[in-house]
Symmetry: C2
Subunit: 251 residues, 2 copies
């Protein structure tokens, strides 16, 4: 099946495309903060670093533009997107709706195994609160959310929800979880689990929606606190940090 040079098959036994690999890599770099909001993607440099040419890099960027992690400017290339306060708040609303939907669907079909998993995650979050270990709590919290979405058994939802979360993370990085809120947050988790256990779809939906909206409220509070300490710009100022506002590309 592999025609020539069975030994040095380092290059081009074309078993995979570069594009998804690059896409993940850029996602990773954004996730770790290696690439921060607003910075430009230098295609040539990135291609060189990955040992490939610009074509696949551009394709990956085009894909990432579509899911909202990058934006493009004509003749200036791709930039890591900046998410304004307004957009971040909008994302909370969408997530609330989708998360509620996930819960409604999940309540009808959730398995006992999945319920046990959720219960265990809640217990571990309690432990993290006692420690206290914010990083672990944050991670477990994400895991809990992911589990609920997966339990909905809605493939599109399972695909969509993390994309929205990733986009939200583009908002200037800050401690998203207030230490004081962990306990109440986990109490909400418990109520959610109860609703799911009782196959109470509308109840679960309502609780999950409120859970996210509570997150939105906390988010808003941190914004207000910041603007209070930082000074001038109003608490809900939709403007962002960029100095140079060019008209963004279409779509």
């Amino acid at each position: 099946m592999l025609r020539r040079s069975p030994a040095n098959s380092v290059r081009t036994p074309r078993t995979a495309s570069f594009v998804p690999v690059i896409q993940r890599e850029i996602e990773r770099m954004i996730g770790t903060g290696e690439l921060t909001s607003g910075t430009r993607i230098n295609e040539s440099t990135l291609a060189l670093r990955l040992g490939i040419s610009r074509g696949p890099v551009r394709e990956a960027c085009r894909a990432l533009e579509q899911i909202g992690l990058l934006r493009s400017e004509l003749n200036r290339g791709f930039f890591v997107r900046e998410v304004s306060t307004k957009e971040a708040l909008d994302l909370y609303d969408i997530r609330a709706g989708l998360f509620g939907t996930a819960g409604r669907l999940a309540a009808a079909i959730v398995t006992t195994v999945q319920l046990r998993d959720l219960e265990e995650l809640i217990a571990r979050m309690d432990a993290a609160i006692e420690a206290p270990d914010i990083a672990t709590f944050y991670q477990l919290n994400n895991e809990f959310h992911r589990h609920v979405v997966v339990a909905s058994d809605n493939a599109k939802l399972i695909e969509l929800y993390p994309l929205l979360e990733a986009e939200l993370h583009l908002f200037r990085r800050r401690g998203l979880v207030l230490p004081g809120s962990m306990r109440t947050s986990n109490d909400e988790h418990k109520a959610i689990l109860d609703a799911l256990r009782q196959s109470d779809g509308t109840g679960a939906a309502r609780l999950l929606e409120r859970h996210i909206l509570a997150g939105k409220a906390r988010f808003l509070r941190t914004l207000e606190d910041d603007s209070a300490t930082e000074g001038r710009p109003g608490p809900l100022d939709p403007r962002n940090t960029r100095s140079k506002d060019r008209p963004s590309n279409d779509r």
Copy 2:
């Protein structure tokens, strides 16, 4: 600013990228049925037809893959996506959730002008029902939905919702609106308008959600009818028409 040959500036005064243009073009071809589910996109042919090279075409395809209109197979290129019955039903659930969210948000901020627009659309739909003019009703119905989403003033939602609708249209084309359902559908519109008028967010959300889920129920009925007349394959068979099942690409 334009350096050479001011007359025949047919080529390359680079004021726009080809990619969005091609993307729209492919979307259009899918929308009109010129490209049907499952067919392969021939990059070379398409590029030739548009008078450009394959690079931008590939970028556009990559973008369309990300929003769910195309899928890719290694060394075989891009295909117009096929949406299975399960996926179509999943999409209805997501749309229901998002549409409800849109309504909840819109109820709080909808303007009198927007309310009047919605009212007018409802009136025109009534007229279309009387005619009866199914095509016009279908179009006005879409317009109504779009208006509600726009009234939410949530940019991401406004971007997302039509994408889901487009994806749903990839399900093997069929008359999505049953003639008999137009009247009840428009009655639902009227109830929705009332809720919005009264700034009743939760009411609007519930009604909008049910409105979409009613569409899902009708969709299910048409499926059952079809399978009854067509013969063997079960009403909820998730399998699709493809003969050759290869492992699809990741993501």
